[in-house]
């Protein structure tokens, strides 16, 4: 059989990178369209945060059938953190999950992320990139918390767009609020 693995992988690899690039560009094309339609009085940050809310809700709902309490809370948290990491990995980021100080905590660390590059390319402020990313994560946790009747939070400790070399976020269990 005539098969050149290097050639096949090379072409496939290029296609993957092309698809990842299109994800970022599509977002910023829509952002541009939304801002033009909204007119000059609209804050670009507010528009970005609204988009982040929609994206976070969608990702959160998509996680509900995948998360499972059967193996206990620690395993559940690990799969939640892993799912968040996988979402960004698919877009071209390098993300790893590390255990936190307790079983009810995980550290998610982005050592590479394509989004600040896109922000720069399309002239979006770096701080908007940080806040939108953070808002996606906060929003996705909303339905997850409600569904599993838990109270997990995520906080951004470092961010690449702030020049800190990596994005580091702490996912942890907070005290349950009364309904």
């Amino acid at each position: 059989m005539s098969f050149d693995p290097e050639k096949e992988v090379t072409v496939l690899w290029r296609s993957l990178h092309g698809a990842q690039d299109e994800i970022g560009r599509t977002y910023y094309r829509w952002r541009k369209a939304a801002l033009e339609l909204a007119g000059p009085g609209v804050s670009t940050l507010q528009a970005g945060l609204k988009a982040a809310e929609v994206i976070g809700e969608e990702i959160g709902r998509g996680l509900l059938p995948r998360l499972n309490w059967l193996k206990g809370e620690e395993a559940w948290l690990a799969s939640l953190a892993g799912a968040i990491a996988a979402n960004w990995t698919n877009q071209g980021a390098l993300v790893k999950v590390e255990p936190g100080k307790s079983g009810a905590e995980a550290q998610i660390c982005w050592t590479r992320c394509p989004w600040p590059t896109f922000a720069k390319e399309y002239g979006a402020p770096m701080e908007e990139d940080v806040q939108c990313c953070d808002h996606i994560l906060q929003t996705l946790l909303r339905d997850v918390n409600l569904f599993f009747n838990v109270e997990y939070r995520i906080e951004t400790q470092k961010a690449i767009p702030r020049g800190q070399g990596a994005c580091v976020r702490r996912l942890y269990k907070a005290e349950k609020r009364e309904a």
Binding site: M1, L64, F147
Partner: protein
């Protein structure tokens, strides 16, 4: 003093002697039911989208009423609110206004016309409702796990009180319509079950908290309905014995049994035992769950309550409920899908005609249709949903014809007995020495596929009774057709197994799926199965369970394109569990030595190591068509010979042509 609506004497029937526990009376509240049979309330989507009962539903119910042979026959659950938040199915019957009473009355009369006891169910679909409106109601706001369901709105106390009143008013309408027995549906994710479950009830008021608090809504509904029913009309409830929601922290089995006891205290006259929710990740009623698997739940219920206990759930064989009743572990045998597949199923049991039963194959197509807003149909029963349609009732043939059916598989046999019953002279030919066609091999796939053989056995019995002549072990040739000169030829020859477009498909390690399933062909330890539809999945799972390393390669975008979604999810899980790698949207470009070259739909290629390739891809079978045309004989092509599909298509094709020929 107990009332008997219709007297039935079963003493002369063979089934009553064989299954004595099924055909003895039982008392539900103040009513005596002549036997232990119940057609359980089943949504069918046959009704008007405004909730009015249709001719199709009346005819469907009347057929099931005949089937219960004097037992209980329940219409589908009605929704009770004008705002339609309780409506879970587009064709669900409504009872929120007196204008619905005439239609409901027609259903009660149809059931009574068969001397059966008419049952009426109240069903607010809660978290899985609001099929026609934007938001569904539930005790608390808990997001939906399945996207098919609407966003949730938490009920206020005023909403709860109104809902209780609606139950009572709908009960009054049921009584005015003439129904005898009443039932509250509290199962699978409907409103009552939402209140009962710790998963969906997070309330901190008197309707939440511990199991007694979570049962408060159910208790109020029971008491309100009971007040309307009085002592003349028994009231039951369907409740989960196990929600099967441990992954989202649903009720424990102990809490569920406690809910039974609280319902009994509140005054119900019986409890119908159920298992699982629509959101459960555990299979409950599909073919991969062995029959009788859930009987322990009825036994457990009997240990906790004194009122009669009823249950359905994979009790497709009469000996299962008969023996359970005999052991004191169950009181009534409920059926849904068994009587969708054969409305007269229990009646045939009574009459000692079990060979005439068309058994449900537990594929859940009926459910898959409901969830997609389509009228229910049955995979195996072509007449289901057409009970009101004269075109589906066999009419005597105007002219007796000699019909040659080529192929004794499910399409051919179905066509043969239907045509023979209409008066035609039918011969069925097959080169195999036995009937059943490829079903004989297909039934060897794991996870319950042996139940598919009930179709073959039923069709064989019907052919024999209808006088169909079986000519087995005969290869039909153009010469034979020319010699016999039948009036009609029906080609039900099954598919032709495709030869791949790539190189190497003529190698010795390329084998046919039927040979592998039948054990006639040996395969190596690493196997590539070509074709990702049901035949491919079946053989892949069989080989994987034998310990082989199996890779599935198929052209469809996802495996199981020909399997209905209510069963397909099971296969996808089994493929993962058995470590079968699936390359969908792919084809085999070349079969080589110790490997195949797989090509994705858009041209990428990669090698997969394998010792054997199993061919399951099929194409239409054009053999004999020219020969029939050449003789000027009327020709029909059915089943996989026409277009490779599934068992259901074969049966439905055969039935339709049997009616038409």
């Amino acid at each position: 003093m107990s009332t008997l609506l219709f007297a039935w004497d079963y003493s002369s029937y063979p089934g009553a002697r064989k299954y004595p526990h099924l055909f003895k009376p039982i008392q539900l509240g103040g009513l005596t039911i002549p036997n232990r049979i119940k057609y359980a309330a089943t949504e069918d989507n046959f009704n008007d989208h405004e909730g009015f009962v249709t001719e199709a539903d009346v005819a469907y119910m009347r057929a099931r009423a005949e089937g219960v042979a004097g037992g209980l026959c329940f219409m589908q659950g009605v929704y009770m609110d004008e705002g339609r938040q309780g409506q879970g199915y587009v064709g669900q019957a409504a009872a929120w206004d007196d204008k619905y009473i005439p239609g409901l009355k027609r259903l009660a009369e149809a059931i009574h016309a068969e001397r059966a006891v008419a049952g009426y169910q109240l069903m607010h679909c809660g978290r899985v409702g609001a099929v026609e409106v934007e938001r569904c109601q539930a005790p608390s706001f808990v997001p939906q796990r399945l996207r098919v369901f609407k966003p949730v709105e938490a009920m206020t106390k005023e909403d709860i009180k109104a809902c209780v009143r609606q139950h009572a008013e709908a009960t009054r309408r049921g009584i005015e319509a003439g129904f005898d027995v009443f039932e509250i549906s509290g199962i699978v994710g409907y409103l009552v079950s939402n209140f009962v479950s710790s998963y969906t009830n997070r309330r901190t008021d008197e309707y939440g908290g511990d199991i007694r608090g979570r049962m408060r809504f159910a208790v109020e509904v029971i008491q309100a309905c009971k007040q309307v029913c009085g002592s003349d009309h028994p009231l039951g409830i369907r409740l989960c014995a196990e929600e099967l929601l441990p992954d989202v922290r649903g009720n424990t089995p102990e809490e569920s049994m406690r809910s039974y006891q609280i319902a009994e205290e509140a005054g119900v006259d019986y409890i119908s035992v159920t298992a699982g929710w629509q959101e459960s990740i555990v299979p409950v009623i599909s073919r991969d769950v062995p029959m009788g698997s859930w009987l322990h739940l009825a036994k457990r219920a009997k240990e906790h309550v004194r009122v009669p206990v009823q249950m359905a759930y994979r009790l497709f064989r009469p000996e299962l409920p008969n023996d359970a009743i005999g052991r004191g572990e169950l009181d009534m045998w409920e059926m849904c899908r068994s009587m969708i597949a054969d409305p007269l199923m229990p009646k045939k049991v009574l009459e000692g005609r079990e060979e005439d039963i068309r058994h449900c194959v537990a594929c859940n197509l009926c459910l898959a249709r409901l969830f997609r807003d389509a009228p229910m149909t049955c995979y195996i029963n072509p007449r289901c949903a057409h009970e009101h349609d004269a075109r589906f009732a066999p009419q005597p043939a105007e002219e007796r014809k000699q019909v040659m059916v080529v192929g004794a598989g499910p399409a051919g046999l179905e066509c043969a007995y239907v045509a023979a019953r209409r008066g035609h002279e039918v011969q069925v030919y097959d080169r195999r020495p036995e009937v059943g066609g490829t079903l004989n091999e297909a039934a060897r796939a794991p996870y319950g596929d042996e139940e598919l053989l009930t179709c073959r056995d039923f069709q064989k019995a019907q052919c024999e009774k209808a006088g169909v002549e079986l000519r087995l072990g005969v290869d039909v040739t153009p010469e034979l057709i020319a010699k016999e000169q039948p009036d009609v030829v029906v080609l039900a020859t099954g598919p032709v197994y495709a030869r791949g477009r790539g190189k190497g498909f003529d190698r010795g390690n390329v084998v046919n799926v039927l040979d592998v399933l039948a054990g006639r062909a040996a395969v190596g330890e690493r196997v590539v199965v070509w074709g990702n539809r049901k035949p491919g999945i079946g053989v892949a799972l069989l080989l994987a369970k034998q310990g082989k390393k199996v890779t599935l390669v198929g052209r469809d975008r996802s495996a199981g394109f020909d399997v209905n979604p209510s069963f397909k999810w099971r296969y996808l899980i089994y493929l993962r569990q058995n470590k079968v790698t699936a390359y969908n949207d792919c084809d085999i470009e070349e079969v080589g030595d110790g490997e195949v070259l797989v090509r994705t739909y858009d041209g990428y290629r990669f090698p997969v190591k394998c010792d054997s390739v199993v061919v399951t891809e099929r194409v239409a079978n054009n053999a004999l068509k020219d020969a029939v045309h050449a003789e000027g004989i009327q020709l029909y092509v059915i089943g996989d010979a026409l277009m490779p599909r599934n068992l259901s298509s074969a049966v439905h094709d055969g039935h339709r042509i049997g009616l038409r020929v």
